[in-house]
């Protein structure tokens, strides 16, 4: 059921937009081309930001320095009740989406999808987003250098979200 819905969202959106545009008498083809041109420019513009962020995350992950951070933060995050198997996820989640997915796969493969760490990891993966990548490309694309309170607020919200996610998990699974 879910798969059917997720499969049909994109084709149906395309259909609705085109039919609506056609009825309203829009020059569909040329309007599409005009918009698509912008995709090209934007993708090129964010390239340097992607290189910078990918290299930093790549080096950090490859060095396995993540392990030290995990053990350093263990007592603090442990207070909130995050199972220690899920700790690496808490640290990698704001940095890298694909990295986080890899960690979730490890946890699920090692402890089972229906184990407590497996369930917590599944929920945590779905309830937060990568922060540094989003910030650097979104602000980079318009050349804004001073992010104001954005990063601080996002990190604070992330820390609190770990806390609330654990409350929810404990309520339902413990």
């Amino acid at each position: 059921m879910l798969e059917i819905i997720s499969l049909s969202i994109v084709p149906f959106m395309v259909l609705i937009i085109l039919v609506h545009g056609y009825i309203k008498g829009i020059d569909l083809y040329n309007t599409f081309i005009e918009g698509a041109m912008e995709g090209f420019k934007t993708a090129i513009k964010i390239m340097p930001y992607l290189i910078a962020i990918f290299i930093a995350i790549g080096i950090f992950r490859a060095s396995t320095a993540l392990d030290i951070f995990t053990s350093l933060l263990e007592p603090i995050i442990g207070l909130v009740g995050v199972p220690k198997e899920v700790l690496p996820l808490v640290i990698i989640r704001p940095l890298s989406g694909s990295g986080a997915l890899g960690v979730v796969r490890d946890i699920i493969a090692n402890y089972g999808p229906d184990s407590y760490p497996g369930l917590v990891a599944s929920i945590m993966m779905g309830s937060s987003e990568t922060i540094f990548y989003t910030l650097s490309i979104y602000f980079g694309s318009i050349g804004v250098k001073d992010y104001k309170h954005t990063l601080k607020a996002a990190l604070l919200a992330y820390v609190i979200s770990i806390f609330t996610t654990m409350l929810v998990c404990n309520y339902f699974y413990l």
């Binding site: 085109l18 599409f32 995709g39 090209f40 999808p113 599944s122 990568t130 104001k148 601080k152 996002a154």
Partner: protein, 197 residues
């Protein structure tokens, strides 16, 4: 002064510094050489791989914008948008693009969401008086965006299914509750930390 900037600056530096130092101590430097080559290339390939799908979505949305479809959708959400983004004037295109980004995020159309989001930033920047500095509206938009809006985390469901879960979709409801909470908290924190534009 440029706090947000220096914070990312510091995190970027620390990740590379600690990574290389730790790599050297553990005799992992060869791997780091490979990573630099690989990830630099990855940044370029990823940007190029985005061109096609971004072009597609922005082309399609250009039609939806001109036909008035996006504006109609935006109308329904105006009361909520007014509270979260008080600085965006009525009928400004930024509003529509922000909404499209949120909707695409909710349904997991990741690349479409990025295309709309970047367009939203561009429109928000037309309301910006100091082009080097973020506005409250930009900050709020990204804070909500980064709190995750996805209704159904399909990759997680698939992973759970692949590893033989007895109930792969069982975490959806709880994830939805957790993510709603985190989004509400993010909005509140965003509002609290807001300064003058």
């Amino acid at each position: 002064m440029e706090r947000g900037f220096s914070m990312l600056n510091t995190i970027w530096f620390i990740m590379i510094f600690v990574g290389i130092l730790y790599g050297a101590l553990t005799g992992n430097l060869g791997e780091i050489n490979n990573i630099i080559l690989k990830e630099a290339q990855e940044g370029v390939s990823f940007a190029i791989s985005l061109i096609g799908i971004m072009g597609f979505w922005l082309g399609l949305m250009n039609i939806a914008e001109k036909s008035g479809l996006i504006k109609n959708i935006a109308k329904g959400f105006r009361p909520v948008m007014k509270i979260i983004f008080p600085d965006i004037p009525r009928n400004h295109p930024a509003e529509s693009w922000i909404l499209m980004n949120f909707i695409a995020n909710m349904f997991g159309v990741g690349n479409g969401a990025t295309a709309f989001g970047l367009k939203a930033m561009k429109e928000l920047n037309t309301l910006n008086t100091n082009k080097k500095r973020a506005t409250n509206a930009m900050a709020m938009f990204l804070i909500i965006n980064m709190s995750s809006l996805q209704l159904v985390p399909l990759t997680v469901v698939k992973l759970r299914h692949d590893y033989g879960s007895i109930n792969p979709t069982g975490t959806i409801g709880i994830t939805l509750l957790a993510t709603s909470l985190s989004t509400i908290i993010a909005i509140i924190i965003g509002k609290l930390l807001e300064g003058k534009d």
